[in-house]
């Protein structure tokens, strides 16, 4: 007699054979658990008269605040302002980080010379640059873009260098043997070979940039998601505050998902040899 042992996942959800459907269902279940915990926390606040005033942080008031925030354009304006700073800062980080990473990966001398200063700079909290950025840049926008750029450049540069270190040197020899010029080496060999690592670096940089953006916008500026949170706190609109926090989380999650899709698209490592 043959006994068949079903895997644990199959026992729990026997119909979830498709990985896509399984991921979706598990995702919805996870989010539902989060919502339940959030609601339970709100109920706890409601039990205590001293904290009852904070129940507007709960999921109900938060979701009810969205129509107003969408109608008056608050979410749109905040997302556009933050998106501009984030996009510009990240663009600068990519434009500087990839060439620096290529230099680090290709030149041993540059790598050895730059390692200590770069590691030192990397370890400085991006927000520690804030006073300096405010002095140097005449506009808050520029200062925030600088902070995002300086926070994001290191993951990109180090990931690019790590990618280059893994390149098979024979690929360059083969390409040269077949008549490749310097531009071919870059576009046909180097960049496709390191695309996975560069995109992984950009994904990490995106996370860092998103984390830096909100506190940077709490100071000085009068637009953006960080400012919207501060404004909601000052006007005691707690439901608006949590709604904006939720927007930050959703956008961050969406951007990270885009990076994951791109990484999968450009990764060649996952293929079986």
């Amino acid at each position: 007699m043959t006994s068949v042992v079903a895997p644990a996942g199959a026992l729990a959800f026997p119909h979830l054979k498709s990985p896509g459907v399984r991921r979706l269902v598990y995702g919805v279940v996870g989010l539902s658990i989060m919502l339940i915990i959030w609601e339970l926390g709100t109920l706890l606040l409601d039990l205590n008269p001293a904290t009852r005033t904070f129940t507007t942080f709960g999921p109900g008031p938060t979701f009810r605040a969205f129509p107003t925030l969408i109608e008056d354009g608050s979410i749109y304006k905040a997302v556009v302002a933050s998106g501009y700073r984030m996009g510009f800062g990240l663009f600068i980080a990519i434009a500087i980080g990839i060439p620096i990473g290529i230099l680090m990966g290709r030149s041993k001398r540059f790598r050895e010379m730059s390692n200590s200063p770069f590691q030192l700079l990397r370890m400085i909290s991006p927000l520690a640059w804030m006073p300096l950025a405010v002095i140097v840049y005449p506009e808050w926008d520029q200062a925030i873009i600088f902070l995002i750029a300086i926070a994001s450049v290191w993951p990109i540069a180090f990931a690019t260098a790590a990618g280059l270190a893994k390149i098979d040197p024979a690929w360059f020899k083969v390409a040269r043997n077949l008549g490749a010029r310097a531009t071919h080496m870059l576009t046909q060999v180097m960049l496709p070979a390191i695309a996975f690592d560069v995109l992984t670096g950009i994904r990490l940089a995106l996370g860092v940039a998103w984390i830096v953006l909100v506190p940077a916008e709490l100071l000085g500026v009068t637009s953006g998601l960080g400012y919207a949170i501060k404004d909601a706190r000052e006007t005691l609109s707690y439901s608006h505050l949590t709604a904006m926090v939720l927007v930050i989380g959703v956008i961050g999650y969406f951007l990270d998902s885009v990076c994951v899709v791109l990484i999968k698209r450009y990764s060649w490592h996952h293929r079986g040899a």
Binding site: D168, A170, W171, K173, V174, A175, R176, N177, L178, G179, A180, R181, H184, Q188, V189, P192, A193, A195, Y266, W268, R271, G272, A273
Partner: protein, 292 residues
């Protein structure tokens, strides 16, 4: 893909890696006829791979010249293409993209490129895998892709640096046969560096023996055998024995008694084992004129 071979002329070629390093080889002279297949055999370290890299324009000689039909070889060119020990395919590309990459470098338009790539893939019998990722192929199939990638350039000289040493015995035998037949059909000159005496006998019109440090060409033998060449053919075995003797004489090592043997000192194509007597095999010495 009709190709015309070239006359290869190597004059007083000497090489050392740096001013303080010893000579890799010195005063190497060689002439090859149009369409001739030459095998260079010798122990590791005698400079045969370095010589091949210089022929490919991937290394510069310390002195001396390499000319193909009076054109000085100073850098890589689609006219002289090298195939390496491992295929070194680009794993992010499909078979057809890997095969066509040299044409892409040369600026070919897509239509012409596709035609030529299809032709090259046909030559190595990989039509059904043309759109597969190269990582999905076996080692032998990957080496065929590397061969197609070289052939698509229509080189006049194809340089092979122990290209089949990592393959199993069956695949290696098939590749040796196919490369010889394709290059002969297309008229391409072939220079193959190998440790494998069988490979030299099966693929070359002439075998050169390099030995010593710095390396020198100590001897050469015409491999005047009809095609197709079969390992079990007595003429092939006799030639193999002569080459083995010549090699051991050049190396100054005792030679195994292989003259006229049925190749019993080597395993035949069984169980995926190496089919080849490696040149390190020691045994009884035999003499053949060395021309130092």
């Amino acid at each position: 893909m009709p190709v015309r071979g070239v006359r290869v002329e190597i004059q007083d070629l000497t090489h050392r890696y740096s001013a303080r390093s010893p000579l890799t080889f010195e005063k190497v002279n060689l002439e090859a006829r149009q369409g001739e297949a030459i095998a260079i055999i010798g122990r590791s370290g005698c400079g045969k791979s370095t010589l091949l890299h210089i022929l490919a324009g991937l290394l510069r000689p310390t002195s001396g010249t390499v000319k193909l039909d009076d054109v000085l070889v100073e850098k890589p060119s689609p006219r002289w293409v090298m195939m390496f020990q491992a295929p070194h395919l680009f794993p992010w590309m499909r078979v057809s993209q890997n095969v066509g990459i040299g044409l892409h470098f040369a600026g070919w338009n897509d239509t012409k490129k596709h035609e030529r790539v299809a032709e090259a893939i046909d030559l190595v019998n990989l039509q059904e895998f043309a759109e597969n990722n190269v990582q999905d192929l076996s080692g032998g199939q990957q080496q065929r892709v590397a061969l197609a990638r070289s052939l698509v350039m229509e080189p006049e000289l194809l340089l092979l640096d122990e290209p089949f040493s990592a393959l199993d015995a069956f695949t290696r035998a098939a590749m040796q046969r196919d490369v010889r037949s394709i290059t002969k059909r297309l008229g391409i000159n072939l220079v193959i560096v190998t440790h494998d005496i069988d490979e030299a006998v099966l693929m070359a019109d002439r075998a050169l023996i390099m030995a010593g440090s710095p390396g020198k060409i100590y001897d050469e033998l015409e491999v005047d055998l009809p095609d197709p060449r079969e390992r079990q053919d007595p003429a092939v075995q006799a030639m193999r024995a002569r080459l083995m003797e010549a090699f051991h004489t050049a190396a100054g090592t005792p030679s195994p008694d292989v003259a006229g043997s049925n190749g019993s000192d080597e395993p035949e194509l069984e169980e995926g084992e190496s089919s080849k007597p490696r040149i390190e095999i020691a045994g009884k010495s035999a003499g053949i004129g060395s021309r130092k």
